[in-house]
Symmetry: C2
Subunit: 272 residues, 2 copies
């Protein structure tokens, strides 16, 4: 058991007047080892792209993870407590921490173990090896892979500022980039199947190069000479969006298959 | 925005050695206004009834909620910080806090508002009125209704100690109790549709009488002269089971329709 929820009433003031809690103070819980997500992938899939979560709040919940930015303006990589933004033009920049996100998931990466995978000829092969070697299939994981990538296919999407457009249509116009001989880090999350449409079941990989100039959502790769580290998370936290836009989305109607399409629009990569 | 996640590193010791966090201390997050669940209803539906969450841990996460007990030995009502156990023989007792639960959801009930519903001829009518009057449909709610109940149909299930049996079969043998002219409290949770199979979408009601002698899972009721209070929760917390039993269940394969069947096996009640 890793239930680290402890009552910590009165640690920090609450913005909301609360009747509960001892001495009239807010009743709070403190969690260790949590994978924290802001919004739902189903809300994103339904077109809630604006997002009002400050990036500073994100960093208060974790130092490692993936996500997107308001108006889908780039793929988000959170690594070692820094937020990188991989733009549709293929460049990477340090994100403006005054910005916001409509969807992201982060954890404080705390290594629980390492896995030996000498090489993989494809992302699928890498995932099969991880499936065999990660301790549990029912738990969520954060996975960090520092390695060399003989080939790597990344995608980013163009920002969406106009009226709401389902994400499944947005990703049809995804911009893909083919790279060779890159060194860098795969920042990955693996959710169990029971996550349904709250997040992406299975693996979700973003990449940023060692020099922090190239990055994006990973569609395909070959991999070698890597260090594979994992952090098993015992708790999931889901921050429910407070926006009117979220109320208007049909997040409850999004199907698991749509999420699959959005996140796994992978193109098999022919060797160059 | 009600993002109350703040970094509170070092507040409490972690049972697990962690590499992350400032000064080598665990990186923790503190949450206010959270609805905290232990395990998944899909795991319960798949037969993971043993449960290893101490009831004391449950009370550290909330003072209001619903759940079940190890081996499905009764329906759980958490009210005003006390845990009541409605047994299959129709009686209610204060739960032994040395016990454990395989599934429960609790929050620190903090009233966000009241709703005026003078009377309802059925549980469905009550829920329709709540649907119209609760502020949002995308948010989870805890709902407390103190009222008089001209009629009330409760169920409990027999404990399951033998080999694993799908919950959908267990509830076929549910024991139902018809009551008249009861005063007491409905302890309810409402989850949005996006919760999928992690919990029960829609309303989930347990009841305990004012004198704490009668209780159970509510299948039907008439209601009058009630006080309806609600607490909107901004965050969901899901504690992932750590047990081997959970690993062996097919929680990811459980369908939303099965959850419906289990929780809403309601019998329309003819007036006596």
């Amino acid at each position: 058991m890793a239930l680290a929820a402890v009552l910590a009433a009165g640690c920090a003031p609450s913005a909301k007047t609360r009747a509960a809690g001892k001495n009239g103070k807010p009743a709070q819980i403190t969690l260790d080892d949590a994978l924290v997500q802001f919004s739902l992938v189903s809300a994103l899939a339904a077109g809630d792209y604006v997002g009002d979560t400050p990036l500073a709040d994100l960093l208060a919940s974790g130092d490692f993870g993936v996500g997107t930015f308001s108006h889908l303006d780039g793929e988000m990589i959170v690594l070692d407590g820094k937020i990188y933004q991989a733009l549709a033009d293929g460049t990477v920049r340090a994100a403006d921490l005054n910005g916001t996100t409509p969807f992201a998931a982060v954890t404080f990466f705390s290594e629980d173990g390492q896995i030996t995978i000498p090489a993989a000829n494809s992302l699928e092969e890498l995932e099969e090896q991880l499936d065999r070697q990660l301790p549990r299939h029912g738990a969520p994981y954060a996975i960090r892979i520092d390695a060399e990538f003989p080939t790597l296919t990344l995608r980013s999407v163009r920002p969406v500022y106009s009226a709401r457009e389902p994400l499944v249509d947005v990703v049809k116009d995804q911009i893909t980039w083919e790279h060779e001989q890159l060194r860098g880090t795969l920042v990955g999350l693996r959710y169990p199947g029971w996550i349904d449409t709250l997040n992406v079941a299975g693996y979700h990989w973003h990449f940023v190069s060692y020099d922090r100039t190239i990055g994006g959502h990973v569609l395909a790769c070959e991999f070698e000479r890597g260090q594979v580290r994992f952090d098993e998370c015992s708790t999931l936290v889901i921050h429910v969006p407070q926006s009117k836009a979220f109320e208007e989305t049909g997040a409850g109607d999004v199907k698991k298959q749509d999420i699959e399409k959005i996140e796994r629009q992978r193109t098999p990569r022919a060797r160059p």
